[in-house]
């Protein structure tokens, strides 16, 4: 690899310019499925960051050994191994989160974000750039999921990170913690995100 990548740009692109959720629309299933509270969103984001980071590291290290014809199955096996690790660790140490995230933990395997980064970045760049790329993308994903989860939790249950700030019998927009709320909240958040990023960067 002779080309030099500006690591700061490389890191920031995942958070803003190529934000996986708001801009690239990658990994939408967990984004919509688990964000009924800020804590769930954060947990899912961290689990995904771990798998993304590890798979980017491994793919980048062994990229010259993998024949290009079987690279996709090879990437999938690498990703699936780390997902299995995450699944077992969560079940053993954070059973509460394991219950909450449910089916979406094994489904990290098919999160297009992870396979997408392995294919389009880690298999073409050196180890250090791949780590920075994974951190940027993963943190962008965490931010998106936590913000979406927090928005839904504030509107839907009147609390944030399980801390209630309205009285017990107050009426909240329960719609936002039900499935339709996920779509609606994400729709308006992406309008807002576009508006802010256009204003700041042009």
């Amino acid at each position: 690899m002779t080309k030099n990548i500006d690591q700061k740009q490389n890191f920031l692109k995942g958070i803003i310019k190529e934000n996986p959720v708001f801009i690239m629309l990658l990994g939408m299933c967990p984004t919509l499925g688990v964000t009924s509270s800020a804590f769930n969103g954060l947990g899912m984001g961290v689990a995904t960051l771990f798998v993304l980071l590890m798979s980017n590291i491994v793919v980048s290290l062994i990229k010259t050994q993998i024949p290009s014809k079987v690279r996709i199955p090879a990437f999938i096996i690498i990703i699936a191994s780390f997902v299995t690790i995450v699944e077992m660790v969560l079940e053993a140490f954070i059973p509460f989160l394991y219950e909450q995230l449910g089916i979406f933990i094994p489904l990290i395997v098919v999160n297009c974000l992870i396979l997408g980064r392995a294919e389009s970045f880690a298999s073409k760049n050196n180890l250090w750039s791949s780590i920075v790329d994974a951190l940027g993308m993963g943190i962008g994903f965490i931010i998106a999921l936590t913000v979406l989860g927090a928005t839904r939790e504030i509107l839907g249950s009147g609390s944030i990170f399980e801390m209630k700030f309205v009285s017990e019998d107050a009426n909240t927009f329960i719609l936002f913690i039900l499935p339709p709320g996920a779509f609606i909240a994400l729709a308006y958040l992406s309008v807002l995100f576009n508006k802010i990023s256009i204003k700041t960067f042009s």
């Binding site: 299933c29 096996i77 699936a80 299995t84 089916i103 396979l115 499935p179 992406s190 309008v191 576009n194």
Partner: protein
């Protein structure tokens, strides 16, 4: 009766796309035309049913007896990936018209989380049997088809609508999906 409940629950009450958020990528990605969404639904029906049968048998007769239940995720995704390739090769040889209709959608299905999701959910069904798993898979793919075809029809109409600048593209589609999901919420309590 039990099977009818599974079918109605999977299609309407717990719609795989609109209530469980599986298969959102193809739902948003290939729904700009009704014809392509019909093709995608056909491919999903086909692959989801075969994948569920294969992974159910694999889980029941190989993983459980050997105590390898924790390898579920890895084996299922490999089975699905291999199966998609195989279906593609067989279809090309056996039924060229069907291949022509579904061909372009097949590679996309490997990363469709609905297929893996249903395979995993199917082995977790209460007093499961192979027949139950198959019915569950077929009902879920019908649910997927219903959601994506209705959504595509609305999107075709949206082409002509006057949408505010900031809402164009993704946000308006998400909003439409939200309203559709709200409509499906009306089926809650049916079974």
């Amino acid at each position: 009766m039990e099977y009818i409940i599974i079918i109605i629950a999977a299609i309407f009450v717990n719609n795989i796309v609109l209530a469980q958020f599986l298969g959102i990528c193809p739902f948003l990605g290939v729904s700009s035309k009704v014809s392509t969404s019909v093709g995608m639904s056909g491919a999903v029906l086909f692959v989801m049913t075969i994948a569920t049968i294969a992974s159910y048998l694999l889980h029941q007769y190989i993983l459980i007896p050997l105590g390898l239940d924790y390898l579920r995720t890895i084996t299922f995704i490999l089975v699905i990936a291999a199966l998609v390739q195989m279906v593609e090769i067989i279809l090309k040889k056996v039924s060229p018209p069907l291949y022509k209709a579904l061909g372009v959608f097949l590679p996309l299905i490997t990363t469709n989380c609905a297929v893996l999701g249903v395979a995993i959910l199917a082995i977790g069904l209460e007093d499961g049997s192979l027949l139950k798993a198959v019915i569950f898979a077929i009902a879920n793919s019908i649910g997927f088809a219903l959601a994506i075809i209705v959504f595509a029809s609305i999107r075709e109409q949206l082409e002509l609508a006057n949408i505010p600048e900031g809402m164009k593209g993704v946000p308006i589609n998400l909003l439409v999906a939200g309203l559709l999901s709200l409509a499906f919420l009306g089926f809650t309590g049916l079974v």
